[in-house]
């Protein structure tokens, strides 16, 4: 072999690469670890300076996240019956009494419904539109594609007021349906562009073979094109979900009660009984989990990558 072999890096090169990758991973993951750790700190430890790396774990943040509490005095402590459950005990230890459940669970559920609902619709319509743009002779195709993309060019705040007025007319203000439609509309441009790229890469020959083999155009689409677009669909779905999941500006402006998602809700936790950083951190930690699970489930489609086809070039 010549000295230009690209097959095997030397050991030293591997070490340098490993160190760089680990360093980069630590830097990106540090805020995440910080949040997760803060969720398990007591309020005093959470604001301690210098920050505590080692601390006694506490579930107080999580209890506070899921409950509303009233402050009780020393005197009242004596008269109350002893706490019946471990979480009542935790509340009691911090001088409060649980008054009822918080709205975090319901806000979280809104996020799930709106996030996954809009992701499903974005992928559904996005795939159909991308297929049409990729395969059919659409009049003024390039203009239409540019127009679709241009919906992403302005900041949400620029369109928030017209949308707010429109939603009020249609009775969509503060409804899950309204937020699903809005996020679908925003994500659709991304979905169409990404998916069109993936579908363009799938040779036309497979569909032609399916047409010859006795299938209709639509059957060829879902029997032959869809399975091969799986990689593209999976990655597009992840992008759509992450956007809808984390979206803040529209959610703040268009939801306040029944349809409020978790992102605008989490900061409001701070106000309940002082600066409750552990509860905020606990809310953020739990909020990460669904996206992480979704990404891990779809990961095998991402890693499979582009399979080299069985078409002779």
């Amino acid at each position: 072999m010549s000295g230009f072999s690209v097959t095997e890096p030397s050991n030293r090169q591997k070490w340098i690469a490993a160190v760089l990758v680990i360093l980069y991973a630590l830097i990106t993951i540090a805020p995440l670890l910080w949040i997760i750790a803060t969720g398990f700190k007591s309020p005093e430890d959470a604001i301690a300076y210098p920050p505590k790396v080692l601390f006694e774990p506490s579930l107080e943040g999580y209890v506070n996240l899921f409950t509303t509490r009233t402050r009780i005095t020393e005197g009242m402590q004596q008269t109350l019956p002893p706490p019946a459950t471990w979480y009542q005990q935790i509340a009691r230890d911090s001088g409060t009494m649980i008054a009822g459940p918080s709205r975090y669970g319901q806000r979280f559920l809104n996020s799930v419904v709106i996030g996954f609902g809009s992701t499903f619709l974005s992928i559904f319509f996005g795939t159909l539109a991308a297929y049409a743009f990729s395969r059919f002779r659409v009049p003024i195709k390039d203009d239409l594609l540019f127009f679709i993309l241009s919906t992403r060019m302005m900041p949400p705040i620029a369109v928030a007021i017209p949308i707010f007025l429109m939603f009020r007319q249609l009775g969509l203000n503060d409804t899950q349906l309204g937020m699903i439609l809005l996020y679908t509309a925003v994500n659709l441009s991304l979905a169409v562009w990404l998916l069109k790229g993936f579908i363009d890469e799938i040779p036309l020959e497979y569909e032609e073979a399916a047409l010859i083999d006795g299938y209709t155009r639509f059957q060829a689409f879902y029997k032959v094109v869809l399975p091969q677009a799986a990689t593209g669909i999976a990655s597009t779905a992840i992008f759509c979900l992450i956007f809808a999941w984390n979206e803040y500006a529209f959610a703040v402006l268009l939801t306040s009660g029944t349809a409020q998602t978790a992102p605008p809700f989490i900061p409001t936790i701070i106000g309940v009984g002082g600066q409750d950083w552990p509860a905020v951190a606990a809310g953020a930690t739990l909020f990460l989990i669904p996206v992480m699970i979704f990404t891990i489930l779809l990961r095998k489609h991402l890693l499979r990558g582009i399979t080299f086809g069985a078409v002779r070039k």
């Binding site: 006795g214 078409v311 070039k313």
Partner: protein, 331 residues
């Protein structure tokens, strides 16, 4: 199986004329081979018939019915693509079963299993049935692609250079197999090839395409013995027909500009002197490369010939083919 007729089919891609006024009938139960160099319009012809492309003008009839408005599925034709086009997400077995599972056929399970096994056996790919279609060699992909057509019983089989990637042994096996299937099932085939052995041995009819025009259509022997032009004459014969100036030999008919000599038109022993340039032993034939007044020609000779380069031999044309200045045949 059915008779397929093309009537005045024309097709252009932008300025590029792919087919110009092609009319031809593929009779029921026949094996028609299309010959022509790359770009002659062979693939385009198959795509018109299958319905993947629409002609600019002209009609296509199947058993007398105009199928112009029918979708490819409705035409019920099987096609072997030049570029294989196997479904990469399916196994070899599922590729072969795919047409049988179509809404057009809805074949019962045990019938699918039987047909797939039978076709895999014929094509010698039984041991690869569980492979992904992408995990095959070029020759294996090509066989799966033939198999995907053979599992069906269509109006017509359209095959675009189906044996081009196979080694010689497999190619001759499959040549015999395809011919047998065609003869025993009475199938109709329209077949594209560059290989003249395939054309001569399998065809009942040959169509010669030249830049989108069908210049001759007829049985292989007729194309070989009675070509209409230098172009048609050059499609068949190995070694290729020798085209020489008519005045090189005495006795050319009036108006002849070129004469065409196949080896069987050349008698060795007397006549005009030719110098031997090379003797080529190919195993099944022995070629003699000659030159007369700087015009080269190739003929066949006895395998035990003692001729060697630099020798002189004498040759006489016998009933040669004569062509005018434009390349058309003069009778």
């Amino acid at each position: 199986m059915a008779e397929v007729t093309l009537r005045n089919i024309s097709k252009s891609f932008g300025p590029q004329v792919a087919l110009a006024d092609v009319s031809m009938t593929v009779p029921d139960g026949s094996f028609v081979v299309l010959l022509g160099p790359t770009g002659a319009g062979k693939t385009t012809t198959l795509r018109m018939i299958s319905g993947l492309d629409r002609p600019d003008s002209g009609t296509i009839l199947v058993d007398g019915t105009d199928v112009g408005a029918h979708s490819p599925a409705e035409r019920n034709m099987a096609m072997v693509f030049q570029q294989y086009s196997l479904y990469p997400h399916l196994s070899v077995h599922d590729n072969l079963a795919f047409p049988l599972k179509s809404p057009m056929l809805r074949t019962p399970r045990d019938e699918i299993a039987r047909k797939v096994a039978e076709v895999a056996e014929i094509l010698q790919i039984s041991h690869k049935l569980d492979n992904k279609a992408t995990e095959l060699s070029g020759g294996e992909m090509q066989r799966v692609s033939i198999g995907r057509a053979l599992v069906r019983d269509p109006q017509i089989y359209l095959m675009d250079e189906p044996l081009s990637s196979l080694d010689a042994k497999l190619r001759s096996d499959l040549r015999i197999e395809l011919k047998r299937i065609q003869a025993s099932m009475g199938a109709t085939l329209l077949y594209v090839t560059h290989d003249q052995i395939e054309a001569m041995t399998m065809a009942t009819h040959i169509g010669v395409l030249d830049e989108g025009r069908l210049v001759q259509f007829g049985p292989p022997r007729e194309i070989y013995e009675n070509p209409v032009s230098i172009y048609a004459a050059s499609r068949l014969g190995s070694p290729k027909i020798n085209i020489l100036p008519a005045d090189l030999f005495p006795g050319a008919p009036a108006g002849a500009a070129h004469i065409g000599l196949r080896p069987e038109h050349i008698r060795l022993g007397e006549g005009i002197e030719a110098r031997v340039k090379r003797v080529e032993h190919l195993g099944d034939q022995t070629r003699l490369h000659l030159t007369i007044n700087n015009h080269d020609l190739i003929t066949l000779t006895d395998p035990h010939t003692t001729d060697k380069p630099g020798d002189t031999v004498k040759i006489t044309p016998q009933t040669p083919l004569c062509f005018d200045a434009g390349g058309d045949r003069i009778k």
